[in-house]
Symmetry: C2
Subunit: 203 residues, 2 copies
Amino acid sequence: MGSKQRREREKEALRQDILDAARELFVKEGYENVSMRRVAEKIEYSPTTIYLYFEDKASLLYAICEETFAKLAKRMEAIAREGDDPIEGLRRGCRAYVDFGLKNPNHYKLTFINHPQHPGDDKRHLREESMGMKAYGNMRAGVEACIKAKKFRETDVEAVTQMMWAGGHGITSLLISMPDFPWVKKTELIDLMIDTLIKGLRA
Amino acid sequence: MGSKQRREREKEALRQDILDAARELFVKEGYENVSMRRVAEKIEYSPTTIYLYFEDKASLLYAICEETFAKLAKRMEAIAREGDDPIEGLRRGCRAYVDFGLKNPNHYKLTFINHPQHPGDDKRHLREESMGMKAYGNMRAGVEACIKAKKFRETDVEAVTQMMWAGGHGITSLLISMPDFPWVKKTELIDLMIDTLIKGLRA
DNA sequence: TAGTATGCTTAACAGCGTTAAGTGAGAGGA
DNA sequence: TCCTCTCACTTAACGCTGTTAAGCATACTA
């Protein structure tokens, strides 16, 4: 009897339905403005059913973030491979990072801005296998390439990577969380940051 | 009869008590982990009393942030005045900004990270008189001084200011909201960011 | 002294994330 | 075919949240 496999397939399908419903709502309205009950309503199941598939609301969020950040990591990896000028590669990588955040503001918020609150100290996002960490590793590789090619002066790779990340994150998060501030043109701001940092690092 | 004035004084005193209690709790445990009922308990009044003095929880928060950012603005202004080398002044201003955020992480979170959510579009923090904006103005003045002194190449003052802000904010917010990430030494990261940006802007 | 304004409280509403207990359809064995 | 058991799912509830409407005393005014 293949009924067992069929049921397993159906379970997996429902899990995906929950994920899809939650993603759509979270992205459209923001994590804290969407209740488990609303997600349940969307998939036409009772709220408690969700808890049979995800431990809690945060886990649901985490699963969605992983999906999305897998996309980011993939895109950044592609960029890293395509060119041969390491500086240009790093530049494009940074731009991809910021663009990604601006195009998926709620995903970005969830992973890098709101993040876990005090209780429980949820460190899932920092596990090495996590997609966010993979993207970080990519950036690190980009920085390392610039140093190896003697385009950047010799410095602490980790520190430079973290600084580049902070630069990108600073712009991304400010633009996302203070949309009403009188910002200059977004592209100008992004390019200015990237160019200034790169210029400041040059050998 | 000075009773009217006395009552006014007492009202003002209670308002301050609420503010003090809320600040202590918010700073210690974070805004979203503190309920209005807990604030009320601390001042030994009923929860609803708070609503006679503050419109809602966000207003309470806003009042506290204003207090704290007044301190930041004051400190940054003092720094701007004390030296004559504009670059050194800017450097110290940036450092003061980041240090302030790291020393008051919950205040910082409240004003620059968590911030208002979608509903209502709360733009109070962006009013020109607000203390946050005053601090921004200070930074802007610092940048302008560097350009006027021909230390920086001629560029869009607004864009450069926003970039410097984003640089400082990027580091501050990442350090605050991802405390478990394997960061390099904080001071190293902060100095690297500031020095790299300044070097990149040099005439 | 009667009436009113003021400061605060009690009780409640509608929502939240989450859990314990219960239900009912379908599979598997006799 | 009938019984039992498994398991996906639901109902009901707990203890919280921010917030509001209504009520109650005290203190001031006329």
